[in-house]
Amino acid sequence: MTDALEILRHDVRAWLAAEAPKDWRATCTTHDGFLATQRGWFAKLAAGGYAVPHWPAEWPGGGRSLAEQKVIYEELARADTPRLMLSFMSTYHAASTLFEWGSPEQQARYIPRILDGEIWCQGFSEPNAGSDLAGVRTRAERVSRDGRDVYVVSGQKLWSTMGQFADQCLLLVRTSTEGAKQAGLTYLLLDLKAKGVTARPIHQIHGDEEFAELFLDEVEVPVADRLGEEGQGWAVAQSTLASERGLTLLELSARMRGASWRIADLIRASGREDDAGIVRDFGRLTTKIDATCALADQFLANRIAGEERVGDASLVKLSYSRTLRAFTSLGLRIGGLEAQYHEPIVFGGGMETGNWMADFMNSYAWTIAGGSDEVQRNIISERLIGMPREPKTWTLEAAR
């Protein structure tokens, strides 16, 4: 660790000591409290120059190296600040896709608004396009209306994180049914206030509403709000999905390690310090968490050195998701009957809130979302290890 990084760590820690919100979970028992906490903390981070360290240097707060970003995220995790869930899609998915594919006009129009707190969501998944994303069916037809060039979009989108609170949407649509499934996709930037858009929150099994479904009924999107060319949507979407593989898992792993005290507290509170089986399982878990953190660290070091391999990110995600399941599962087990009595959740409270049944159910967020564990296993076995790929076609005839 160089001196410059140590100075940065010192600066961030001092800034957080003064600025980090205290007892914020208490205010996040309602959606309004959650939104106020998230918006307030993002504005503070943006003003302090720590909201978008991964952006290019020409933007305020941007231009941080990966090593510097790591320091910032470690300190944010250490101070147990609210994770930026509301603006996550905006500063990562939307911004990085705009940086890579946006025209200068599009960048000048949208990027500053993100820094001002505009919220983006992602409109990729559909009822019949989950892990198999290329099966998107939402239709967009290009027409001229009243002298304006627009796409008219109709369809349904699912699992839009924070979609019910968002202002804008990264939208993947089908403009052609010719040729390969991927070749008929186009990428649009949708204003969610446009006529014909309905956003409805999805009620999750643990009581949260982190996702929405979007219904699009003949919604007009100006052609000027297309990212990339018509038919290039698959390639643009890959940039969006790649942005998810940033330092998120490093931050989440650090937060999981930082939350181990919750299980320690639980063991003490339930009087099971002398239960060797429980203590062993806790010990085994802490080592698994340490291993996941070490893997995330090594992943970052390899990326900095330009030695990242295809599939490395999947190793980190799978290691994290399974370890998070083990963490919440152990909490639920030790929590016993007490954990079976319903407690209202804390919105945006993180993956480890000590509301064990809720935390356990919420851990599926990481084994299913962002490429399910099964998709990660395919990537690891086929692309990292080099086992042969699944045949592309499947018919009833062949199965007989």
């Binding site: 010990g283 070490a294 296993r377 076995s381």
Partner: protein
Amino acid sequence: MSMTRSELQDAARQAFGEGGLAPDAGRSWASIAEMGWLMMTVPEAQGGLDLGRDAAGVIHTELGRALVPGPMIAQMLVISALSAADDFPERDDLLTRAMAGEVMTASLARGEKLDCVPDADGASHVLVVSPSRVALVPLDGATINARDTWDKTRRLFDVAPVGEGFTLARGDAAIALSDRMDAQLLFAISGDSLGGAAAILELTIDYLKLRHQFGRPLALFQALKHRVADMKTWLSAAEALFWARAVDPAATLVEIGALKAHACDVYRAIAEDAIQLHGGIGLTMEYHCHLFLKRATLNAVLGGDGDHWDERAGRMALEVAV
């Protein structure tokens, strides 16, 4: 360290990677001494190479990969103990002889009993550790009983030496030295285990690609691929932890013990499933799968088992998180 990790790894693979698994014990020991690995962690002032724990990590990993037999781990314990000992007239001579390959051995089990001592029948001395004293005792006149282990890559003996031998440390220094020996032993077994796990995983993947059933390679079946992907993930995370703790001077004995327990869990799980994935051939003595399974299960109990170290790690985490 003057040699990078990958240079050292290349040298080790050249020495052991091509000679097949579980190579000849005598020739392996001669190569180990010739390559200077026995003097690897000894300070230059004492005639060593002064390489760090990560260098030792590379060597133990590579020996584990190739299932190299011999008393390397025990010998390294003796060498470290001699190197750290208070000076006494015979010390430099003993250290020089040990670094040159004269076998001096030590128990690989936890506790004071001198069982589980590798290659004691050909050794000149044995390390004797008690809470009040660490000593190196000549094996002249000692009672040495061979134990027939399932793992034929290790030859273990119960030893009862005669006499007091040379004192290496007493009192608090003995406790500190004994903890250091424990950490070194656990770290070495971790490396051996992760090297073995990586090797049998690669061999299993090769086999799945090669073997055809139902008109296609086994490697095409998703049910098998996903098992392999899980193994690769757990192994990668355990390896990352191993190298992180290798270069962390603040790593505690319990942290190294927890690493050892985890590395052995991963090795055992991979070696166990490797036989299942190989099918019938995995159950034959001619094929290599069983060698890994046997070494994995032995490693799991050396230096204290998973139950012991997981519990201590849990206790430590409870204390930290007050």
